[in-house]
Subunit: 236 residues, 2 copies
Amino acid sequence: MNSALDNATCQSCNQRFNSVFCKAHEDHINQINEQKSCNTFKKGQVLFSEGARPQGVFCVSDGKVKLSHLGDDGKDQIIRLVKAGDILGYRALLSGERYSASAEALEDTQVCFIPRDLFIKVLKLDSNLAFEMMKLLSDELHKAEIKLTHLAQKPIRERLAETLLFIKETYGYEADGVTLNVRLSREDIANLVGTATESAIRLLSEFKKDGMIELEGKKIKIMQPRELLLTANLQD
Amino acid sequence: MNSALDNATCQSCNQRFNSVFCKAHEDHINQINEQKSCNTFKKGQVLFSEGARPQGVFCVSDGKVKLSHLGDDGKDQIIRLVKAGDILGYRALLSGERYSASAEALEDTQVCFIPRDLFIKVLKLDSNLAFEMMKLLSDELHKAEIKLTHLAQKPIRERLAETLLFIKETYGYEADGVTLNVRLSREDIANLVGTATESAIRLLSEFKKDGMIELEGKKIKIMQPRELLLTANLQD
DNA sequence: TCGCAAAAATGACAAATGTCATTTGTTGAC
DNA sequence: GTCAACAAATGACATTTGTCATTTTTGCGA
């Protein structure tokens, strides 16, 4: 963990209307605000590792994090991309298990850490928060089920196109309106898609050749979102 | 929906200690008991279909159900196998969405139906139940994430072995101690594994040749669970 | 700025898997 | 019991995808 900053209160956090806490009672927010600790993680730093015991929940106020699960043969599968306003580490905590995934900062990231007991206590007292939490879990479960189906049924070309669109939905564009607002290695992209790194690289080249995207190092520019959507072949 | 039976109360249900309701307050169980309706679905009947609006939650008192999600190309992916004591239909209800999967009885099945508003109300009042619900959702999410990783990284042979063990964990054996206690078509098995029906059939034949299983029509007998576990190549 | 190490890209090939066609077996309605 | 319809099994083959080796490019610290 990093040097503790105390740069902001929950009440003034610019994510306060985005997060799962948006409907929590004011008193509870105040309690969280008093007991939370703020930290910064540099790009590449690990917030928590698979196998560790969750001591609380992270609330991301700024930055980007990848959550990845180590497969049996040592290959990572990226389970979730986390952005400002999201919380992190709740799954294992609520299941009462150790972390089943590792969290690594994709860029410098600010998080608040809410201790386990406080989080549980507030969740017990605040049925609105509990409901938001259930909704969050249900939504994640839904996404996982769809991803599962696509992983089982769709060719890699379609899944890569879908992944690029998913990254766009999650992190949006840079100021130029075309460059994806995150830097991912080819390996990360492959681990999102669920394929070999070489396959991801090859298909990215094809997409570039087809004019759907442009590549400049780790920058990816979406030139033809409509074509990409067609390539993804999404019915729903 | 089927002819309404009123064969049992929640208080006398033999699943009352298994289900997510086990820690709910007695008063709430009583309310549920008064407002629930019991139904029977014959094998092959559909409890609900993808796209419909959830009107409540199903609680399975006896029988088996498959939950499957239709892929973009019309192929089913089986998302979950449901057994007595499980609840059904909560995901869409909590997300406030239409059903994203269809539920079909794998054999004659008894369910109780708990109306939407009652379920929500009790969930709001009963923080123990809400916690159990969050735990259930977290556990399902965990399973989905592991399945996702395996789908992305493991060959079909390993996934089929894992699937057979999963069926054993879910439904157990018949009285003989070797026959899986459920009848699934080869297509269902393929849709669980996430592969083509022919591939599933071929690999089942191989497993049989290797002596790990025996096949008699839709009966599957697990002859060498240890070998099957090795074939599944599970690290965790 | 150079040089090194890591990442990206590419090619050749092997292996895994899916598709299509055909045969065989099973089941249930009549 | 027979037939029709469906499920299961099998074979041949095409396609997709992964693996390994190699080259090229990039980014970064000395």
